[in-house]
């Protein structure tokens, strides 16, 4: 029935239960998360809606806890600027829009505009570091949570997305074409960049773009153990205890904490399922990665990369669920 509005085809997936990946030995968690009910390895409830936009070739809306990201895919289509055109392969162009500093309501609602600091004529914001570094105050929400990416401009995030998506799209099938991916952050409450990648992948699948792999992003927050040890006990010698606490899928409050490092890792999950016996290096490695926040130790970086592979497995299962529901819905619509 071609006359039906496309919303009929929108497949929305209900929130899944919290996913508990198995604990590995490298993850020690002496420090609890600010939201007490949440374990360090618990992901927030996920919910997705595909084909919600009628004018684009593919679209997806992903809600991760309080973070809400919307993505639309147009293409393959002819590039508007001939400079973008490549004769033998397609090009992915990403437009990332953060909106009007869309931050979640929790933890102070001071307007975002006072981040425009000194003589400002650009969109740069100053990180609000808490002057008081004691353990009690570090986890208080700062009045204005820093934007996703902690100061990275949209250009850098766009390139990050472009690299992550280009790695898995069969661009050779679309010479002289552009696949335009538009991301709109509706509400930001941590893990925005990772959610944007996952949302873009869902939208690409919705659009039916040929892909050779499945890039899945996972975000985690690394809290260095010795950071607080020094603060609490005020010891002169550095403990050199490089173990780190890893929190998966951080919220904005956790991301903005002092001394927290955020790591976003994109891995190709399609190749990992065929290499289950390979051991630790599942997934064939990192496609792209991004860190921001405080400095972290090598051990922290490695443990965070390891833990992200587990979180990616949950994300893949969720994506599969979303696509299955969409396909079933479409079959019913077409054949009923």
């Amino acid at each position: 029935r071609p006359a039906q509005p496309s919303n009929q085809n929108a497949a929305s997936v209900q929130p899944t239960e919290h996913y508990h990946p198995p604990k590995t030995s490298t993850m020690s968690s002496p420090y609890p998360r600010p939201q007490k009910q949440r374990a360090p390895t618990t992901l927030r409830p996920l919910s997705a809606e595909l084909s919600s936009l009628s004018r684009s070739d593919g679209s997806a809306s992903l809600v991760v806890g309080n973070t809400h990201v919307l993505c639309a895919v147009h293409g393959p289509m002819a590039p508007r600027i001939s400079r973008w055109e490549k004769y033998d392969t397609g090009v992915v162009s990403v437009a990332f829009s953060r909106g009007l500093m869309a931050n979640s309501g929790g933890g102070g609602s001071a307007s975002a505009s006072n981040n425009d600091a000194v003589a400002g004529d650009n969109d740069m914001t100053m990180t609000t570091t808490t002057a008081n570094n004691t353990l009690q105050s570090h986890m208080k929400s700062v009045p204005v949570p820093p934007p996703p990416g902690l100061g990275a401009t949209e250009r850098e995030l766009e390139y990050f997305l472009r690299d992550a998506l280009s790695s898995c799209i069969l661009l050779e099938k679309y010479p002289r074409c552009v696949i335009q991916v538009v991301i709109q952050v509706v509400q930001a409450d941590g893990s925005v960049l990772g959610s944007a990648v996952n949302c873009a992948v869902l939208a690409l699948m919705d659009a039916g773009v040929a892909m050779r792999g499945l890039p899945v992003a996972a975000t985690c927050c690394v809290v260095m153990n010795n950071y607080y040890a020094v603060v609490e006990k005020n010891e002169k010698e550095s403990k050199k205890d490089n173990a780190a606490t890893i929190w998966l899928d951080p919220t904005a409050e956790e991301e903005s904490g002092e001394g927290h490092a955020i790591v976003v890792v994109v891995t190709d999950m399609a190749s990992s399922s065929s290499q289950e016996n390979e051991g630790a290096d599942a997934g064939g490695g990192i496609i792209t990665s991004f860190t921001f926040g405080a400095p972290l130790s090598l051990k922290g970086l490695l443990s965070s990369v390891e833990s992200t592979t587990q979180s990616s497995a949950a994300m893949v299962a969720f994506m599969r669920l979303a696509i299955e529901q969409k396909v079933q819905r479409e079959v019913q619509t077409l054949w009923s």
Partner: protein, 387 residues
Amino acid sequence: KISGNPAARNAKDSQGEYSTHNDNSSGQEWILDAYRALEPGNYLQEFTSQNVRPDGRPFSASRPITVLQSTFTRNSYGSAMVTLGGNSNSDNNDGGSTTTTTTRVIAACTLLVGHPSPSTPNEGDIDVTLTASPLSGPRFDVMGRENGDISAGNYGVMKDGGGGNQQPLPGNLPNVVSSTHANNSTNTTPSPTDTKEIESWIRRTLRSSRFINPTELGIEHGVSAWRIRISIHILNHEGNVWDAALLCACAALADLRLPMVEIDRGVVKIVKNESGEQNAAKKGKVQRRKGRSLTLGPLPVPLTIAILPNNDNENTSNKNTLLVDPTHLEEDVAFGNTVTVVCNANEEIVEFHKKGSGSRLSMEQVAAVACMGFGRAKELEKLVLGR
């Protein structure tokens, strides 16, 4: 068949033409240049398959770094110039050919006074601008954007050392043109240098590395603070501008000396002559802040490594070739697949990101890269900050 005699002047090359290069070079060099320009991937592979790079470095060696501070004292309060590579003539007594694969970047700090945000009333800010121009390289346009079309580029040209000695040619040169090297079609995303991307990266790295303490930039609590604008310009782009730009920004900040200011009813004036006029300032409500340098935290040291897919069949244990401190040719061949790690001397990773769509990085490589970064951080902290 190409003759192996390097001194064959005015000889016809295999295409029956005289070399249009200058008289001192043979037709072979002319063919080499054409090969490098038309098939950079295969050209590079000639070298990497023998475990060297075109400029003679091993894979894990970076170019020598030269940091020169206080280069622009007239118009800025702190400045620096960083050169990656570059000839030191004393090294070339043996007549090895000198290459021009030097990346050169300059940075200067200018100061503005502005209003701090209410949530951080005592903190200043840093703004970073990176510019490029056609001066930087043949593929740059007047807006500072680089053309992504590889075939339009010219790479670092090998010049003769004084005595006409040239690099030994790969032995199988006659076979090269006819043999078919597998051409990777997966990593085809072009990655010309985007200055905005590098600006953003430098800005957030400077912030998260705590290299400078923003509370030192306050002038009057809640009323005025310094805004440092670091302007970086690429003088010569021969690869790895990321590292050079960040180092240059840090060196300029290390060189920065905030001037003495007078605060007169909320208006901040820079005092030109710091030594005199001490008494005149005492009257009225004019306050003074002394000129000072910034106290510096650990230097964030970047290390960029290009990732090349390893096409050799013998060496399948390691799927990628990692080239430290890539030249422009190597960056292009890698299609922008690089991994950059910024470390400081406290063995912390300030920033880690892997770019590029065509390659994958394994955990061992991540650890290896980070360890290299730590080593480099210790060296460079000594070089730039002298401690």
